[in-house]
Amino acid sequence: MTHTPSRLSRPSRLSRRSALGLGGGSAAALALAACGVQGAAKTQTTGQAQSAAQKFWKTQKATGTVNFANWALYIDPSHQTLKEFTKATGIAVNYSEVIQDDDSFFAKVNPVIRSGQSTGYDLMVITDGLQFTELVQLGEVLPLDQSRLTNFYKYAGKPYQNRAFDPGNVYSVPWASGSTGIAWNPKYVKEPVTSIADLWNPAYAGHVGMMSDPQEIANFGLFKIGVDPETSTAADWKKAASALMQQKSAGIVRQYYDQSYINALAKGDTWITMAWSGDIFQQNLSAGSDLQFVVPKEGGTIWTDNMMIPRYAKDPVAAMELIDWFYRPDMAALLTEAIEYISPVPSVQGVIKKAAVGATGSDKQSLLDVADSPLVWLSAADYARLKSYVPVTARNEAAFNGVFQPVVAG
């Protein structure tokens, strides 16, 4: 029902985290001429952080509106989940689909929060990656009120709690997850694809798609050389980058895509490509195509989009309520039925199956598709192979980007 205090007080892991994160800003150099960009990392110990959080939440009162910033098409289109929330709690939700990617959203909210002003949002969805880490390090997100996360601790699956990028779920809980693996078109690729090396296969030269996000290709480069991204070193990065460069100079890669790799794959311009599981599911559903997806045996990436509360949010209490609302299995099921990405609530699969029994016609078919899809419900074997992104912070970012950006931007 309520959280167990031991969850929060895992001193060894959390304190190392806070040493890296909350305590990392002690070297902040703030001398500027004219208008530079100020650093704002705070120094705090774990205990201070926890008691500060608890004290903070005691003083907050609800105002009755949540301003929710999210990615486009990342919620059920009719907003039924939000409408039910308003009905149940009386809190209104202003939903804005203003996030195009983490980079630009961070670049927009960072200056605002840094100057002490509200972003206008109470809730936002951020992927676990560099921007997530920076928001935490800069103190630009509020620690969550653990006492209001009842549904989360009751219904969330173990693999989605207490992740390495946010131990103890201090700042975030997952919204949806996805996996990056390899997708291919059986019309052009006859042999089954099982390995990262298939993306390096010269037989597919000129028809291989790779992603342009450095964090995504870094992982695949590291898998290629057999290194776990979560524990990789700068030397590993260099080796991974040269493997990726070799793939490029051999003319194997057709293009480095942002989200539009699915267009190329669907049209047959690329035959085999790095891909997100949800997109493949969605394209097969939309067009009846037969695209295949696999988590390679060397490894795949699991990424999580997380709900976070920005600092100076006008109504963090209402935001907390909305966060916990989405961990009700019925609401989580509605969400997953619509967006078809991996839900952090395992019981959703059962809820959808039950709904499929009661439905008819094409609704029934699409519900069954979602309930049974291995792209939406990963197997234990898949989980074992999935790794998070390389833990990049503002400190090693220059080195990381210096190694991988030339691959994409040559």
């Binding site: 990615w71 098409l73 203003v98 200056p111 002003q117 969605q282 394209q283 939309s286």
Partner: protein, 289 residues
Amino acid sequence: MTVLDSPERDRVPPSRSAPAAARTRRRRRGAWADRLLHAWTWAVIVWLALPIAVMVVFSFNDPHGRFNISWVGFTFKWYGPDLLDYPSLTTALENSLLVAVSATVLSVVLGTLVGLALGKYRFRGLGAANLVQFAAISAPDIVLASSLLSFFVTLRIPLGLPTIIVAHTMFCLSFVAVTVRARVLGLDRSLEEAARDLGAGPWSTFRLVTLPLIFPGVLAGALLAFAISIDDFVVTSFVSGSTQTFPLWVWSATRNGLPPQVDVLGTLIFAVGLVAVVVSALLGRRSAR
């Protein structure tokens, strides 16, 4: 006759003398060249509209999910109540139009004055003014976006529609100025001097002589400004706060598939524009008579 038209040429009827015959031959070759140019113009117009045709076709596609990439089947259903499935999309469209109209009006007024100054006069600071115009055109979007955001944030100006309009006016201004300047350069001063000699004050001279002369430049600048503003993405994304515009929504939607509703709205926008064009063509023909 609208202000845009130059006086029609008098056509001299062919006569039987030798120079006249030569003129007739030239005119026939001329007519052939004219037809070629006419065809070329239409070819370019069609080429520019080609992807719109694809978009229109895809608005009738019937995918079973969200992705509208591959052709599945024909349906009218997206033109019905399903169109409102994404309420934020229609708000985004309204915002885009409001911003584009406001920014166009503002930048045309400001830009025309600047273009006049740069084209007609020699003054100290002309070089610097030209430099600033140039810099505004050449600055990469992200530079404008990021510096404006810092500017607004430091001054604690709340982000929203007003800041978007301000930003759009800023970069459209230079485009209008350069276009108007191209028109103003080499404008015959004598007409304005004549007007002044006849006792017209500076405002009357401007209103009755200068403005009609430069009007094609002003109109062209307005069209450019509108096109830039309604399609702007990067700068808008940074200074919009929580306001959403159509290009922002579309760009954001590409991460999770472009549903048919987007194509439908695009088609409707195009249709409305087409209607406006046809109306203007009919009006033009009527006034020519």
